[in-house]
């Protein structure tokens, strides 16, 4: 189980531009952080750096006693704007594949589909979904395969008010179970979270 996230003196560079430096963040099990900042400040890059997808300019990202390679392969979910869902495949195919891939089972995929009310959509192609439905499909992974640290890139933006509240409850439940969340947001998160403003 992943129980710590320690970011120390972090600097990131993208395309020759220094995004930020000296960034510090410490999260323990059950805590969440809300990243804010103007467009292009580096919120998405920070999430991708935690996920191990981009290199660091300076500083460290650690996960307590957990080996970073193991943490990233088994304990972190990343849900970004680009959700990796193929438009021509059905909701069921995509949900089942990504559930298995991230360590869940068919039974847990079914449970997640019910929780996100995707069951009536399962036989539709992903291209037929609305933006909100598509986001719910991407978020369903979070419940289908339990992983401790959720990295969410503006998870609420395409969701309607009802679903924002319901996903807020799911996030609260994840934290109550000892999980951690780092979310890039423009609107306030519906859960208590450490605020972290990202700027150069």
């Amino acid at each position: 189980m992943i129980a710590d996230l320690e970011i120390g003196n972090l600097a990131l560079r993208r395309g020759g531009r220094l995004l930020f430096q000296g960034l510090e963040l410490r999260l323990k099990a059950g805590e969440a952080a809300a990243l804010t900042g103007r467009n292009g400040a580096g919120k998405t890059s920070l999430l991708r750096a935690i996920a191990g997808l981009v290199g660091l300019e300076a500083g460290t990202i650690g996960f307590g006693d957990l080996d970073p390679v193991l943490a990233r392969s088994d304990h972190i979910h990343l849900v970004g704007h680009q959700d990796g869902q193929k438009p021509a495949r059905t909701v069921r195919e995509e949900l089942d594949f990504w559930t298995l891939w991230t360590g869940g089972t068919s039974a847990s995929a079914e449970m997640a589909a019910r929780a996100f009310e995707l069951t009536p959509l399962l036989d539709l192609e992903v291209r037929r979904l609305s933006a909100g439905q598509r986001r719910r499909l991407a978020l369903a992974r979070l419940l289908a395969a339990p992983r401790g640290l959720w990295l969410l890139d503006e998870p609420l933006s395409p969701l309607d008010a009802d679903w924002r509240a319901r996903f807020g409850a799911m996030m609260a439940q994840h934290l109550a179970g000892g999980g951690m969340i780092v979310a890039a947001v423009h609107d306030p998160l519906p859960i208590p979270a450490k605020a972290l403003e990202i700027s150069a």
Partner: protein, 221 residues
């Protein structure tokens, strides 16, 4: 294991649908095979001599067709990020992607290859060897082609770049396979050419995934 199988199912299904999938590859192959006699001349004697080799080169070109999107789509829509974040090593993931590509396009092409060769005038007794060469050579084309596809990630007109990177690497399998077919047509021992082709395919399967994984990591960072 179930994870690898799920990926293989996904990759095969995606390759089946990618750019028209096997039908387009086979159609392209038939087109090239039809163009050749028009360019070379229809005299059967001349065609018989070039038929196995021509069928073989056309196969290499057809294998290129759907390769360029092997990693590109997953890279563009973020799926590659998620494929990386898994206990399955990226090298294995890349190998499975190539295997899916092979099942969906090389296997149908291998069925079409003997038919095209015989239509061009090759002797029917060559058909089993052409089929076997196409099947084994297809593995080499998929795994070597995957390197080109991964290296050209993020480049504009990546498809053309893939072809330029990959075609020189197609030279050995084309020589080995063509040599085996020529030898059999001439009544000479053909096993060495086929074994060299198999060895090249085995080498590509062993080393290709390492190069692909490195190229994918580089493209993501």
């Amino acid at each position: 294991m179930s994870r690898a199988l799920a990926l293989l199912r996904r990759e095969t299904a995606l390759a089946w649908g990618r750019g028209g999938g096997p039908l387009v590859s086979v159609g392209f192959y038939a087109g090239v095979a039809t163009l050749l006699p028009l360019a070379i001349g229809p005299e059967p004697a001349r065609l018989v001599a070039v038929a196995p080799g021509a069928a073989w080169v056309a196969l290499a070109l057809a294998a290129l067709l759907s390769l360029d999107r092997l990693f590109e789509r997953d890279y563009e829509d973020g799926a590659l990020d998620l494929l990386v974040m898994s206990p399955t090593p990226l090298e294995i993931t890349c190998a499975i992607k190539c295997l899916g590509q092979w099942i969906a396009t090389a296997a149908p092409l291998a069925l079409a290859a003997p038919i095209a060769a015989i239509a061009l005038g090759a002797e029917p007794r060559l058909a089993p060897l052409i089929f076997a060469c196409a099947l084994v050579g297809g593995l080499a084309f998929s795994f070597v082609g995957g390197i080109g596809a991964a290296l050209s990630l993020g480049a504009r007109r990546g498809g053309l770049l893939t072809a330029v990177i990959v075609l020189p690497l197609f030279v050995p399998p084309v020589i080995f396979g063509g040599g085996a077919l020529d030898a059999m047509a001439g009544g000479l021992p053909w096993a060495s050419g086929f074994l060299l082709l198999s060895a090249y395919a085995a080498g590509a399967m062993a080393l290709g995934p390492i190069a692909m994984a490195a190229a994918c990591r580089n493209a993501l960072s």
